[in-house]
């Protein structure tokens, strides 16, 4: 089951550039939350701070409190532990090309020390079904490479890989922006189904996508969280003038 996320006064820097400025928000459990905003507004940095992925960049640093469930991920856990509980899907599908489809999905479990074949088989099937990929790949699970799939299938494989370890939160950084419209629709359907079981945070450039999949939407602009409210309110009656300008296409 998913857990909620509380962010208090989060600031982030890349070198000298202050990319996130005092972010406060509460993401409800078991729902989809969309983050929108123009390029470079800090929304990707923000999700990367939620699983401490920004730390893989040596010049990046963050300050503030992020509580996932009741764990303060900057104080009470190591980055490795944090990332085991918080799955992530990236903009470009990145299946492991030297592994079969099966091994791709099982890779996270194997990292966690699961070796029991029966358990692995079960989890791989369940994850691929959840990711709506099972029927397309079940006949060559072990004979085909993860890289042999189409772009949309690869992205669903990456989603299966992320949910195989049963994370509490699933972060998606523009998961459909490199895909064609049909694959995008499939990913959106998937998000719709997955949010019953996981807390989903999705960064997107595509405002219709946010409107379609998310209960809540946050609008970022130059490192500030301008407005965070129910998706319906953001897209019909935003409180902030800048949000209105953005969603009506006046800039960005």
């Amino acid at each position: 089951m998913g857990v909620g996320i509380e962010v208090e006064d989060l600031n982030a820097w890349y070198g000298q550039t202050h990319t996130l400025k005092g972010i406060n928000l509460q993401i409800p459990a078991n729902s989809a939350t969309a983050l929108i905003g123009p390029s470079g507004c800090g929304k990707s940095t923000f999700v990367r701070c939620l699983n401490r992925m920004h730390e893989t960049n040596p010049v990046a640093r963050a300050e503030g409190t992020v509580r996932v469930g009741n764990v303060d991920i900057y104080k009470d856990a190591s980055p490795v532990e944090v990332r085991r509980r918080i799955g992530m899907v990236f903009e470009r599908p990145n299946p492991f090309p030297t592994m079969s489809i099966y091994d791709n999905v099982a890779s996270g479990l194997k990292l966690n020390g699961f070796r029991n074949k029966r358990v692995l088989d079960e989890v791989v099937e369940r994850s691929l079904r959840q990711a709506a990929l099972w029927d397309e790949v079940k006949d060559h699970l072990k004979s085909k490479s993860g890289a042999s799939l189409s772009g949309g299938q690869q992205q669903r494989l990456c989603i299966a890989r992320a949910i195989a370890v049963d994370p509490e939160v699933l972060l998606m950084d523009e998961p459909a922006s490199a895909l064609d419209p049909v694959s995008t629709a499939k990913i959106e359907d998937l998000i719709f189904q997955l949010k019953d079981e996981y807390t989903i945070v999705i960064v997107t450039h595509n405002m219709q996508q946010a409107a379609r999949v998310a209960e809540k939407t946050g609008f970022f602009l130059s490192g500030h969280l301008v407005e965070f409210d129910s998706t319906h309110k953001i897209f019909t009656n935003p409180s902030d003038k800048r949000t209105e300008d953005y969603i009506t296409g006046r800039f960005g």
Binding site: R83, F96, P97, T98, M99, K144
Partner: protein, 310 residues
């Protein structure tokens, strides 16, 4: 006629490039042809048994290549055994862990190793490595790994193991610089993909980096092997130059390249000279066969597995 649209220029250029490409075949064929032609005396005298006989007695005119083939293969593979883990360590460190400020100096120094002439390595080995082997490393290995049976017999400091160590140092820059480039070419999204699953740094290197780069790394090792097989001067200076199959890693040995370098100037008699040229032919064939096997291995890995290099 418009400039550049001329068929003549295009055709000339194509012919020129074809000539360049064909010249590679011509060079290989010529080398092989000359080697066979000049070793025909020995070929005629011993036939194929030259590659199966293990005596090398210029006085009685009896020649066989087995000890040299053995010495060449053993020293080259031992060298790889030492060099490959080191080279991969260097390559991984430079790409994945090294502070930015150290990256260039370390890369530069590793590549500098490749620029040192082979004879200088030989001198260094004689004055530094050999005494160390005789006084410290040799007795240590004998004491703790004597039970393997690989380290019995007298240890004079020169011999198969010392030659392999100097070879390892010489092939290290070749392997590590290619492995470094291959590892650098692994897309960052792969590293992030593994890290996002909760991998430690070592797991990230193993799954996200080395696994993706493995085919290129095998290529790097093959190039290192090629250099180790043909290396002459430094090996000749420390391997002991004794034409017998070594019974221990401390025992002196002889390689195909060393025997040519050592005995070519003093080869009296047509059969002796011819036998030495046939040793050259043997080296040529050993290199080709080893490379072919290595390439076959790569082919089998890439085709048999679902894997594809990134």
């Amino acid at each position: 006629m418009q400039r550049g649209s001329g068929g003549v220029a295009d055709r000339t250029f194509a012919a020129l490039m074809l000539g360049c490409a064909l010249s590679i075949f011509a060079i290989v064929a010529l080398i092989l042809g000359i080697l066979i032609l000049r070793s025909r005396l020995s070929l005629h005298e011993f036939g194929f048994s030259f590659f199966l006989r293990s005596d090398w007695d210029p006085v009685r005119g009896s020649f066989g290549a087995v000890p040299f083939i053995w010495g060449t293969l053993a020293s080259a593979f031992l060298a790889l055994l030492i060099a490959v883990p080191l080279a991969l360590g260097v390559a991984v460190f430079i790409n994945e862990m090294c502070p930015r400020a150290l990256r260039t100096p370390i890369s530069f120094l590793t590549e500098l190793l490749a620029a040192i002439p082979s004879v200088v390595y030989g001198l260094w080995a004689i004055f530094v490595l050999v005494p160390i082997m005789r006084r410290s490393v040799g007795p240590f290995l004998k004491k703790f790994f004597g039970w393997t049976g690989l380290f019995h017999g007298p240890n004079f400091g020169i011999g198969l193991l010392t030659a392999s160590m100097i070879l390892a140092i010489m092939v290290l820059p070749v392997i590590s610089s290619i492995a470094r480039d291959v590892i650098k070419a692994v897309p960052n999204t792969q590293r992030e993909g593994v890290l996002a699953l909760g991998a430690t740094r070592w797991e990230m290197v193993r799954i996200g980096v080395l696994r993706n780069a493995r085919i290129g790394i095998v290529g790097a090792v093959i190039l290192g092997l090629g250099r180790a097989l043909g290396e002459t001067m430094a090996v000749t200076m420390v391997i002991g130059n004794h034409a017998a199959i070594p019974k221990s890693l401390f025992a002196p040995a002889y390689t195909l390249a060393s025997v040519i370098a050592n005995e070519f100037t003093e080869a009296t008699g047509d059969l002796y000279l011819s036998a030495l040229i046939e040793i050259g032919l043997a080296l040529f064939l050993v290199t080709i066969v080893v490379n072919a096997i290595a390439r076959l291995l790569v082919f089998m890995v890439t085709r048999g597995n679902t894997a594809r290099a990134v």
